[in-house]
């Protein structure tokens, strides 16, 4: 059932021209950043070569590129999550799901995995572009892998927040702005807190991504993402149940 709902979500996304437009523009932006990073690296490479232990292409190109993608996704994910439940409410298609033999978990997980699969398609070009560098240089596969895992977990946490905010309203635009406000708020609180041990750092997904970005697989960061995602998914399930209770 979860797969059925996820596939329906994907099918609806890909049948809208706006999705294809967004895909094309974002591929262009990712490629632009990649090429800009590559050019900067090639320019300073002769000077780097004189260092005793010069940073490689992966650290100089891949890590900043993933970091940029993480920031971009923070702003993009709300635009994709806004439709998930708010639009079903507005078009009154939610009744189809609510009157079907499904539990709230099916509905929420179906939508979550459907959009996550779409975002995987959207971001798959980043590791592919980076792997094209393997033609000319040695890549640090460990660093790439940790970045890919980190970006995936980060995206999942963004989608969970967006899905929850989308369940709160029947206006997709409000859902988009609300989710953006939450995500940007967490990020701003993180970079605004100067004390190194401030609690704001602990609740910011982007902060937990930094270790992955540096190639460090820390189980506490992974646990944070899983918990963060699970909490928002559970909140969404309970919100969906409440719409049966309160109408």
């Amino acid at each position: 059932m979860i797969r059925l709902l996820a596939l329906r979500e994907l099918r609806s996304l890909f049948s809208m021209p706006s999705t294809w437009f967004a895909l094309a523009v974002l591929q262009f932006i990712f490629a632009w950043f990649f090429l800009a990073r590559l050019e900067a690296f090639l320019e300073i490479q002769p000077q780097l070569a004189q260092l005793a232990n010069p940073p490689g292409a992966t650290v100089s190109i891949a890590a900043p590129l993933f970091n940029t993608a993480a920031l971009l996704l923070m702003m993009l994910v709300p635009m994709f999550t806004m439709r998930l439940i708010a639009e079903e409410r507005r078009n009154q298609t939610l009744a189809l799901l609510l009157s079907a033999p499904l539990s709230g978990y099916h509905i929420v997980l179906g939508k979550f995995f459907g959009l996550l699969a779409f975002l995987l398609v959207l971001t798959i070009s980043i590791p592919l572009m980076l792997y094209s560098l393997a033609l000319g240089t040695q890549l640090d596969h460990g660093l790439l892998l940790s970045n890919v895992i980190g970006l995936l977990l980060l995206t999942a946490s963004y989608v969970a927040v967006g899905l929850y905010v989308s369940a709160l309203t029947s206006q997709p635009v409000i859902a988009a702005i609300g989710a953006l406000a939450v995500l940007a708020g967490l990020w701003l609180a993180d970079i605004g807190a100067t004390a190194a041990d401030s609690a704001w750092h602990l609740i910011s997904p982007l902060n937990h991504f930094q270790n992955f970005n540096a190639g460090l697989l820390d189980s506490s960061d992974a646990a944070f993402f899983l918990l963060f995602t699970a909490v928002f998914l559970l909140l969404t399930v309970s919100r969906l149940h409440n719409s049966r209770v309160y109408g």
């Binding site: 059925l4 609806s12 009154q92 298609t93 939610l94 189809l96 009157s99 079907a100 499904l102 109408g247």
Partner: protein
Amino acid sequence: MPDATPDITLCARNLTRRFGSRQVVHGVSLQLRRGEVLGLLGHNGAGKSTTLQMLTGCLLPNSGNIEICGIDLLRDPALAKAHIGYLPETPPLYRELNVNDYLVFAARLRGMKPAAIGEALACARQRCGLEAVGKKIIGTLSKGYQQRVGIAQAIIHGPAVIVLDEPTVGLDPTQIREIRTLIRELGDAHSVILSTHMLSEVESMCDRVEIMQHGKLIYGDTIAGMANYGGEPGKLEDNFIRITEALE
């Protein structure tokens, strides 16, 4: 599966529902037998849609219980809902899908086996007159066709109970006649409960009628019984007004 369904397909007892402090439905009890079409009649705002939403599990009642084919809807929602087909006031259509994809999705959603769907799809399209528009995007169809797609999604899985909320709203007279014939046909093998505020609709489609006013069921009888209300045969319309005014 239809052979296993007991005679009473839907049984609701003492349903109540509040929105905030406003009581919308007061102690509604309904029973529906197999092969019966029940019309829920009432003015706008009488609580018909709210009652139907509760019967389909879209809204939880504040008290009371609902059994679908002997399965408690509140305790075992997933099992019970597999026997329901529901067309809300606004048909729940994904406008960006084509008719076939949407109907297959609706059938799978109700737990139909993929092998059985091809036949069910053809049957539902044939019954609702959708043969020619299978590949069309739902958003591009006219209101009448969208309504038919809405009915098709409610019957594609052959549910024991079909719940239709104002099924003929917004249709032209020819379409209304077709839909009425279809509902009559559906009433032979399934149980149908439909809400409406049009008396002619009740007269041409229903076996039995329940009149709802201010959230209460105030009158229930067969069509013939209602036509003979008060011992003197009359037009349904006059009798409806007499009934609602007498109990005002």
